[in-house]
Amino acid sequence: MVADSNTELAGTTVGRGGELGSALALSAVGITKSFDGKFANEGVDFDLRGGEIHALLGENGAGKTTLISVLCGQYRADSGEVLIDGVAHRFSSPREALKAGIGVVHQDLRQITRFTVIENVVLGSSQRVGREAAERIREIADGLGFDLDPGAIVSSLSVGERQQLEIVKLLYRGSRVLILDEPTAVLAPAQSEQLFRALRRLADEGKAVVFVSHRLREVTETADVVTVLRHGRVVAHRPVAGAEPHELAALMVGDDSAPPLQVTPGSPGEPVVTLQGAKCGEGRRALHGVDLTIRRGEIVGVAGVSGNGQVELAETVAGIRRLDSGKRSDSAEQIAFIPEDRLATGLVGSMSIAENLAFRRYDRAPMSTPVWLRRGRLRAWADQLIERFAVPTNRPQLPVAALSGGGLQRVIIAREISESPELLVAAQPTRGLDVVSAASVRSQIVAARDNGAGVLMVSEDLDELIELSDRIVVMLGGRIVGEMDRGAASRAELGRQMTGVGTAGATA
């Protein structure tokens, strides 16, 4: 039955690009939803046509997730309605929405990792695990250019593959509206491209695709239509053609307050850390002989497709990871480290925000005596950092896990940068942050450099690397395969070197 409705839908193919003429697949009218008297969505209208890729843009807290939750039946709107093919629906569960053809790929892919791909796809439907299901899955996956083995255990898949599985699952269930919540937040650039190619194919088949993103370039390059939300209201709904990224950014934040950071070049001084023939780990996630020197007063950017040794390099430079061979020497008294996975590495979720802010100095005067911890001083220090770095909380005694992603990042950055480090290692410092938060983080990093810190910054955001770095090294397969100075780096060149296409100037 599921497969039937699917073919039937594929028949209603609409022209490419979602011209305004094509049929409305879904229409939300006047969606209002409030939490504790605060509007998360206020009179939001949202039209979605078959055959279009529709980007949903907005800062953290602009109401994107709330809107998605209403569309997919996770929340019920206070007022307003969702029309599908002109018929009003009030879903009381995501299951009902799925039946009506609306499927969501959540950020935190909700899968049973011990089950196989087939089992996850079939779970909750009336289908059986069997050859028929496997063939259908393979067929859907092939159609999208996914290489997905129906028999594979989900825990053995990469994040990108797990996302593909989620998409295949929704299609298997006959979804014709696919909503993806920040799908590229966890993907490497190449994987993102693959994803967007697949989304385009879906749109070409007449499906309606919505994706949430903070990355303006993705929106301008991929989407047909964009809806911008700000403070729970729609501030723009327009075709992407002709839109400039900086216009969209302005719409998102409300004014032109977040222009690209004007970064003055650094003035490199003495070396602060040196790696010679550094080797550690095995396989792709490893270092296979890296020579690198970072000087005081410079930002060294690290580009590379995710999983080519960047994490290992960051940890090695920070002095957290032991080398199997090679040498590391540093002259830094204070080393700050902003890890990629904030909650998993940098913070203790069960301890309070204030306590987490004190991790770097709880063990010395004045915050403690050789025996005692001075709670008053700890709290005073935390209050100071919360103020200075705008950590979004008024209750520092709450567990840090209560904060949002941006809040967590601010806690870590406040704690690490406030120590005036001589060496700062930042891994994906702005991943998942909204435009304003990301800009603030970038300026903190530049400020640390201007205070004389040597900075190593790993990022998958090439624009960010080009903007901030005094020097960019490119990693591939655990080695540094290229190096460029400020001004010499371009997206195209970085992309070539990252993917090993190779150009003149690339060194092994």
Binding site: K33, S34, F35, D36, G37, A40, G61, T65, T66, S69, Q74, Y75, R76, D78, S92, D108, A318, I320, F337, P339, L343, A344, T345, G346, L347, V348, G349, S350, M351, E355, F359, R360, Y362, D363, S368, T369, P370, V371, W372, L373, R375, L398, P399, A401, A402, S404, G405
Partner: protein, 369 residues
Amino acid sequence: MRGWRLERRIDQPLASRILVPVLAIVAGLLFGAVVLAIGGHSVTEAYEAMWESSFGTGPGLEQTLIRATPLLLTGLAVGVALRMNIWNIGAEGQMAMGAIGATFVAFHLSGLSALPLLVLMFLGGAIAAGIWALVAAIPRALIGLNEIITTLFLNYIALLFLSALINGPWKDPSVVGFAYSKPLPAQSELPFIGDTKVTIGVFIALAAAAVIWWLLDRTRAGFSLQIAGGNVRAAQYLKIGIARRILFVLLISGALAGIAGVIQLGTASGRLQDGLTANYGYIGILVAFLARTRIPLTVVVALLYAALLTGGTALQSTGIPSSIAQIVQAAIIIFVLAGQVLGSYRLVRPLRGSAQPPPSEPAVAGGAR
């Protein structure tokens, strides 16, 4: 229930933290009432007996306090280790080693007067039990050998060692039929408080709770323990050594259980004997769990659990079979445990805007609950 749903919350309001366990206990008592009624027993009579034997009368309250004392100590012992994500199942055996250590001191320093002898007995007991815990802690810290297994099996060794001592070198030959050690010197008995049957052990246990609370909350070492226990990776990158802290925390844990053993020794008949540990070491696991390793809560839970134990005994003396008494006890505990889990959620009705913003999953890293 359509449309209602449970949502996890990070911060449980105080009112709910108090109300939920109270309601859970009431629910447990109601369930117990049904069981009692089915068994044809008088519910009011039974609960009256439970109340009088635990809190309602002077002697009842004394019995409760006497049982609460070792429970508080073993609850602390398990709880403090749990803060480091270490499951010390060995409090029972550590209690036995504590009693053995104290007996050894008492036999060898019997010439001392009461105060120095008692101090040395506590010290000896704490050290013996601490070292016993280290037997499990060292392989755990060095090669990651699972402490749940080792501490559990060390219990059997410790309890059998105690048996061997009172049947062998320390046996009182004048007692026939029972294995007792020779009597301990008279001055080694713990002084009673006023003219009650409660010993000063209660104060020692409370003092231990205060010290542990201070250690964890107000000292540098305690703070680093919380980091290490909360998130191993964070600890590693802050250069907080894990192995050392596992040793430290199990040493403290063992010592606390050992002190419980010494108090049992000084409260019992003045002899080392089988059954001295009375499962307090195992019940301590439940106490620590119910108290979520929070120290002040451990005091409360130990007291309530002790009341449940004395109340359960009283039920049997009214002619109710022990099996039914145990069902009533277990029902209360299960309801409290269920309440604890449910209390960390709230009911959300998605129809109206009564909830908090979107489901940003609170991924609480590591840590004991």
